[in-house]
Symmetry: C2
Subunit: 230 residues, 2 copies
């Protein structure tokens, strides 16, 4: 899974939220591509980056219900009509498209009748319309509201959810989530040595065994339910 | 009625649509403010412009379901939080907010299930959310689809509708439309001389008389209808 994150932030070095997410992205081996850091926009180079990715994420703070202008500038230049849908070819077809949006406002404000009077999904509609035109697979939005008010534990939990958003198989089901954690545990144990590695492998075996048990219980429950339906 | 048009187009001199609309705007004595022509954005000067206007129009070609990045840049800089809704004051409160959007695609494509799979109203939601936060009065969208395919007559009809959009009293009712045309006729006759002016005044009198007759007929119809309801 090659994940490309198109990040837009006019002062990214001063954004603790983006710096925090950046560490998570690097750990996940996703490509971190900050558009405001580009000296100039090389259209074919940018398009190649997009072509090479399996999952493309737009990531930005919400400024007036959209990305900062740097992302729109990038869009207006890089996303030529031919690249999205011209000539009956669709270079981005079947790639996955996600949005990570940070905001200083609480999520409860983004409702009809609430302070912002618009949902985040509504505000993001223009980006998804592009993805739709390019026949991409649209992922649910990943919102990071009020990072500053999160406890350290909440920040860590959010970071793991973010990393799952970057690389976990779709859809975000229990099975896919378990497999993602198993892979992470594998990677972790591989880097251990001697006694730690033995212990790590025992933990991994237990984790996998638990997953298999859970699968069996799920199957049994399913059979019982089907029996009831008859 | 002071109307301010915030126009965004990266190559406005090459846009025949914008040049056509510009003539209509000048005739209507609206302020034509092209953001990409600004050497730099003087925030307080821009905010003063907005403060002085009764009606504020964002006008642009649709690029990826939004304005060109020049308008977003202007928004990100000029629309500070305090200017829109900070400190419990609302400098733009009760001003009218409209959007004029030009597009090369036919309107029928902007529907759920159609090619674009998004309505223009949905694409414009972020701009209206700003206006909503600033307690402005939101006008219906003015769309100019496929200017190039319009006949000369259709272009002229569109131009008049555009001028009404810039200066006519809200709502866009028959009475307000009549008054707008009466005012235009007045202005026109005022500029005539001698015999032409006499003829012009006769036409104006007839027009006003027709309007009054129409009002009387409307009143009569209303009375009959009220009688039926009893």
């Amino acid at each position: 899974m090659k994940t490309l994150i198109i990040v837009s932030h006019p002062e990214i070095d001063n954004s603790q939220t983006q710096q925090f997410l950046k560490k998570g992205a690097e750990e996940s081996k996703a490509v971190w591509h900050h558009v405001e850091s580009l000296d100039s926009i090389d259209i074919s180079k940018e398009q190649d980056l997009l072509r090479q990715a399996d999952r493309i994420i737009f990531q930005f703070p919400l400024y007036w219900y959209a990305a900062p202008y740097g992302l729109k500038k990038w869009e207006d230049k890089v996303l030529t009509r031919n690249f999205i849908y011209g000539d009956g070819s669709f270079p981005l077809e079947n790639k996955q498209f996600g949005i990570v949006v940070t905001t200083g406002m609480p999520l409860k404000d983004f409702k009809k009748g609430a302070t912002e009077n618009i949902t985040l999904d509504e505000a993001m509609a223009p980006y998804r319309a592009i993805a739709n035109l390019g026949k991409m697979k649209i992922m649910p939005l990943f919102a990071v509201p009020q990072f500053w008010y999160m406890s350290e534990d909440e920040q860590m939990q959010m970071l793991i959810d973010y990393q799952r958003y970057l690389t976990q198989q779709l859809p975000d089901s229990l099975v896919n989530c378990q497999q993602w954690f198993e892979q992470r545990l594998h990677d972790f144990v591989d880097n251990l040595e001697n006694g730690d590695k033995v212990m790590g492998n025992l933990i991994l075996d237990t984790f996998v065994q638990n997953m298999e048990d859970l699968d069996q219980v799920s199957d049994t429950l399913k059979m019982i339910k089907e029996g009831e339906d008859e």
